[in-house]
Amino acid sequence: MMNVNITAISRKLFNNNSEKSPYSMSLNRKKVQHPFWVMVSKEISDQVRSWRFIILVALIALTCLASVYTALTQFPKSAGAKSSEDIFFFLKLFTLSDGTLPSFTVFISFLGPLLGLSLGFDAINSEMNRGTLSRILSQPIYRDYIINAKFLAALSVVSFLFVTLGLLVVGAGLIFLGIPPTVDELWRVIFFVLLSIVYVAFWLNLSIFFSIIFRQPATSALAGIAVWIFFSIFYNMIIQLIAKGIAPQQIYSEQQAVNFQNFVLNLMRLNPSQLFSDATVTLLMPSVRSLGALTMAQVEGAIPTPLPLGQSLLMVWPQVTGLVAGTIVLFAISYYLFMRREVRSR
């Protein structure tokens, strides 16, 4: 029940209800955290406290540990081989596999989307269903703070997770191999981690987009998973079919064959995970000199040595740009839709 001493309390609470709200003054008096950062920190703590995040982190940590373990057991065998890659010994930690368990990078390219989807699929619609959206929007914040804070919070959680994972793998390599990575290798690992973050950000934005257009979190989660499964399983099959259909009957020139190959490859690259794996392969296997088919004329005179970091980066630049562009486009669409949405209570 409401107490009898209402008067006392209310007098205390509203003692100087003058024209100016007292809090506009307290802003100057004391350093107050900006509302946007209040929202970001709340969203981060929401993410970290949620069960789905704990489950996903456990899943990702386990699979990555397993893949690093198999990579480590494979090391003695591969170390013997004398190839040009041997100078990039350390990077094999991320790419080696014994055939039974996929490598670290493959796991990231497979589970990363799931992580991104799960962090965002209920971003907006759950606020709407709980009736918190209209309440929060009536506070003195801009509307885009909500979507920006959600994106930034999820992104920082992902970044933290991936940096930690990357460091763990490097650390494990240091302990078990006893060989420190070279500066070049370290940079490649850093770029790989950044790339993974961008890749997950793409899927995160996709799920935020679905959370705006679908009112039910279950529907938006399912839509996200459907896109993920489509790209990881069906897309390549469809491209194979198309490739078969349009393959030239007879190949007249080398150039024609190369063109055809590159066309099919470019179709494959509409798939974000293809972009990601192209980019990781180039970054982590410096001996990769090209991502498409090359004519004999182009290969002629090439010395089979690993590429320097700058050249590898140059080669994956289109892929990275593509991923970043996809992320930005999705975010822009979500932003537009969200800003135009009329918010009513429930």
Partner: protein, 250 residues
């Protein structure tokens, strides 16, 4: 009377073919408790949303505390507390957290927010439930928490959409008393939308009756009674029923 604090001029909102709010002219004065009445879908909530700048008017203008909510939404939202119909909270957090969060969105320092939150919980009678997750609150408790949520930013205007639904009769009584007290002692302006005619009659200085997007009548009970029946002394229920031809509203 004192100066106007909310001014609506020819306010109109159209959704494709449907006109939700149709050329409404209305002035609410400072320190008034103003009632919004009307059947569901009459345009009350849409009008409220336009006052807060949460939706854009198709035509006409809004001034709240002299500010245009379309151009300076933050200025309006800083001064206006809004309790939506069937308000929601973060269910996985406790009541105190929810209040402090709102306070911090209003740039209130954290320690100050905490003391205010605890005092407000006491004020609305939730002092024992402050540490409970908002998900476990009953409808009435959520409504009380919603009132605390409105008051924590120390607003000049409180817009309450169906604030008393789900609260027990005793609670409603102290709720209405609290509103009156805040008005009398602190000059709070209250906009009160409700279907409960008795409650509206009890606390509101003036009322506006909405029907299908149009304003049917504005004024105090006395004036409305005169306007409808040509004589004073009729209560709000009779007046209201007169507008809706014995509509079953009780």
């Amino acid at each position: 009377m004192s100066e106007p604090i909310i001014e609506l001029v020819d306010l109109t909102k159209k959704y494709r073919l449907f006109t939700a709010v149709d050329h409404i002219n209305l002035t609410v004065r400072k320190g008034e408790i103003f009632g919004f009445l009307g059947p569901n879908g009459a345009g009350k909530s849409t009008t409220i949303l336009m006052m807060l700048g949460l939706t854009e008017p198709t035509e006409g203008s809004v001034r709240v505390c002299g500010i245009d909510p379309e151009r300076q939404p933050l200025g309006v939202k800083r001064r206006v507390g809004y309790l939506p119909e069937d308000v929601g909270f973060y269910d996985n957090r406790d009541g105190v957290f929810n209040l402090i969060y709102t306070a911090r969105l209003n740039s209130i320092p954290e320690d100050e927010a905490k003391t205010r939150a605890l005092e407000l919980l006491q004020l609305v009678g939730l002092e024992d439930a402050g540490k409970k997750n908002a998900g476990q609150y009953s409808r009435g408790m959520r409504q009380r928490l919603g009132l605390a949520d409105v008051l924590i930013k120390n607003p000049e205007i409180a817009i309450l959409d169906e604030p008393t639904s789900g609260i027990d009769p005793q609670g409603v009584k102290s709720f209405l008393n609290l509103i009156l007290k805040l008005r009398d002692e602190h000059g709070l302006t209250v906009l009160f939308s409700s279907h409960n005619l008795h409650q509206v009659e009890e606390v509101c200085d003036r009322v506006a009756i909405f029907n299908s997007g149009k304003l049917q009548a504005v004024g105090d009970i006395e004036a409305l009674s005169n306007q409808v029946f040509g004589e004073s002394g009729h209560n709000l229920e009779e007046i209201y029923n007169c507008f809706f031809e014995g509509g079953t509203e009780q």
